[in-house]
């Protein structure tokens, strides 16, 4: 069986500085993997490299989605192929209306799939339903994208986009940062609803607490650009108790 996502000996740099130094990771359909690591270990770089951001140069290795290399694909192509990145810091877009943004994203995907554009009324109804579940108010939907949103609202809005775009590979970059306990619960529930045998997730986090809510199948510890240790969900608890310093290099 072809893995949904396969990362092979991935090396990446920002400018001249190597950040990822040989990542190997295989994610099968339906699996939820967590990547944990201290600050500066390369977690966010990994998420941007997967999404194809400019300035993050892959210097070696490969990223395969359903067996196809993504390295030559632009961010929009990767997204339409099923990749989704929930941003650690969602970007404010003053002047870009929320609804037209969501519709443009959904329509781009439908166009690629040879489908008709969404019916406007049906779309508004669908967005409202999903938004309600995530505690995204109608008032937020009317505003410009992420403008004037609190930290928690921005994260919920990310998950709303994920729910609308129905990716096969979702990367959640520090989705718990800036969330209070209630917001964390709402966001996690939103994510858990989207767990599906055909959908995989890569949850990137500094702390174990998110993984109490989104329980992973596998946990990997990233340090200095490499995966140092892999295990089941109990590995996260180990980190919680002994810290990253205690992680054995002999992964």
């Amino acid at each position: 069986m072809t893995a949904l996502l396969e990362i092979r000996d991935l090396h990446a740099s920002i400018g001249d500085k190597p950040i990822l130094k040989g990542i190997n990771l295989t994610i099968n359909a339906g699996e939820v993997h967590a990547i944990m690591g201290p600050n500066g270990s390369g977690k966010s770089t990994m998420s941007y490299v997967l999404a194809g951001r400019d300035g993050y140069e892959v210097t070696g290795g490969d990223i395969l989605m359903n067996g196809e290399s993504m390295l030559e694909m632009e961010p929009d192509e990767r997204s339409r192929a099923g990749m989704f990145l929930a941003f650690q810091y969602p970007v404010e877009l003053p002047g870009v209306g929320g609804m037209s943004f969501l519709r443009a994203a959904v329509n781009a995907r439908r166009k690629d799939a040879g489908e008709d554009e969404v019916d406007q009324l049906a779309f508004v109804k669908m967005v409202r339903e999903k938004a309600k579940m995530l505690g995204v108010s109608d008032e937020m939907l009317k505003r410009a994208v992420n403008v004037g949103f609190s930290g928690g609202e921005k994260k919920r809005y990310e998950i709303l986009q994920m729910a609308l775009l129905e990716p096969t590979m979702a990367v959640l970059d520090e989705t718990d940062s800036g969330l209070d306990v209630d917001a964390l619960r709402i966001v996690s529930e939103g994510v858990n609803v989207l767990r599906d045998p055909a959908r995989s997730m890569l949850v990137i986090t500094h702390y174990q607490r998110l993984l109490n809510h989104i329980v992973p199948d596998f946990v990997h510890i990233l340090a200095d650009g490499r995966i140092r240790k892999s295990g089941g969900k109990e590995l996260a608890l180990e980190v919680e108790e002994s810290g990253y310093a205690g992680i054995d290099d002999a992964a």
Binding site: A51, D54, E74, D76, L85, P94, G95, S100, A104, A108
Partner: protein, 411 residues
């Protein structure tokens, strides 16, 4: 003689006297602006002055369907100029409250227009002298039907010099659209808006001349006491376009809201120049200018706010922002405040920027193709300016033009 050539040969015209004679004399004296004229430093007319231009004497033909349809969709009364010549049939059955007369027969009106037009200005003087057609529109009372002035025409060497003087009587109200859509070599309209006490003009201008046309518009505005204007220009056409507007706040408590968007691609040159003269106390003016330039297009914004010594309690604001979509696009911005009164609130600013790479990445990471994502961000840059147009009828003329510019690629 200064200027590389004289345009047109005024000697071939019947001798002029009065105001037009004075304008012709100034033109003969000054000619085209030379390389050292500060106000034309960023906008050179070299290509134009090398052409053999002939003021249009005949109409070019049928009205284009687009312009007529746009007037109809606005429910506007259409006054069409063909090659700078007014179509007399359009002056029959004017909306109630609007009367038309020939400007050429009315020295008093001509002199009043000359007072509010840009002063000692080569193109304004030239158009006053040549005046392919001169029209006075007097407006009294509240006119519900918008007027559309449609300027069309054709001719590789034709220059057009329509002159329109719109006078709003005290307490009058008018909505007016100017649509400039010719393929002539030089379109040089001179338009005056003389707004009487407590009167209000809501005006939009759409400049979408052909990409071979040079559009040099001179606009003069005078506001009497408690008069107001809400004006908006969208400049997308022309090989070179300059929209020059001079406003005189002549009566206290007048209010002037003037905004403009210029958009250029290819090798287009787009110039927006304004002069805001706060001659009396207690007036407000606000200018919002947005420019979008792609390819090797060039933009110019020159805006001067002048506050006279006794024009206390003036509130004068101007903010110009430009967005460069290409490394080879350029903009020159020159906002100026010239304040001689001490109790005023004035602010100005000019910024130039590029599309934000992080915003672009956010949009494309959602599957939105880059060209659409760029268009969305450019639209976002412009949206508050267009949304600020309160008159929905007039805004409706501009919105599709801006949108089609954005989706025409290159954004």
């Amino acid at each position: 003689m200064p200027g590389s050539m004289m345009l047109p040969d005024l000697g071939a015209m019947p001798p002029l006297d009065g105001t037009r004679g004075d304008a012709a004399a100034r033109w003969r004296q000054a000619g085209w602006p030379g390389p050292r004229v500060e106000s034309w430093r960023f906008t050179k007319l070299d290509a134009l002055t090398k052409m053999d231009l002939v003021p249009a004497a005949n109409a070019a033909g049928e009205a284009s369907e687009t312009g007529v349809a746009e007037a109809a969709s606005m429910g506007a009364h259409l006054i069409r100029f063909d090659n700078g010549l007014v179509d007399a049939a359009c002056l029959a059955a004017l909306p109630a409250g609007v009367t038309a007369r020939d400007l050429a027969d009315d020295e008093a009106a001509m002199s009043a227009l000359a007072d509010i037009a840009p002063q000692n200005h080569p193109v304004s003087d030239l158009s006053m002298a040549v005046m392919t057609s001169g029209l006075v529109l007097d407006v009294d009372g509240v006119v519900d039907t918008p007027l559309m002035l449609l300027f069309e025409g054709a001719g590789d060497d034709a220059s057009t010099h329509p002159v329109v003087y719109v006078r709003l009587a005290a307490a009058a109200r008018l909505q007016l659209a100017e649509l400039h859509a010719s393929t002539v070599a030089l379109a040089a309209p001179l338009i005056g808006y003389d707004i009487g006490e407590g009167a209000r003009l809501e005006q939009v201008k759409l400049q979408r001349e052909s990409t071979t046309t040079t559009h040099l518009a001179s606009t003069g505005v005078r506001l009497a006491e408690k008069a107001s204007i809400a004006g908006f220009s969208l400049s997308v056409g022309g090989t070179l376009a300059r929209l020059e507007t001079h406003v005189t706040m002549a009566g206290e408590f007048a209010d002037c809201q003037l905004s403009a968007i210029y958009m250029g691609r290819g090798s287009q040159h787009q110039d927006v120049t304004t002069y805001m003269d706060h001659a009396v106390p207690n007036c407000t003016s606000n200018q919002i200018i947005r420019g979008v330039l792609d390819d090797t297009a060039r933009g110019v914004y020159q805006g001067k706010v002048h506050v006279a010594p006794d024009a206390q309690k003036t509130d004068g604001q101007q903010m110009a922002r430009a967005l460069l979509l290409s490394r080879k696009a350029e903009v020159d911005a020159k906002p100026e405040l010239e304040i001689y009164a001490d109790d005023v609130i004035c602010a100005h600013g000019a910024t130039v920027g590029e599309l934000d790479a992080t915003q672009l990445f956010y949009l494309t990471s959602r599957g939105i193709p880059e060209d659409i994502a760029r268009a969305m961000l450019v639209e976002a840059f412009l949206v508050d300016t267009i949304e600020a147009i309160e008159n929905e009828t007039l805004a409706g003329l501009l919105r599709p033009v801006a949108e089609s510019w954005l989706t025409a690629g290159g954004a």
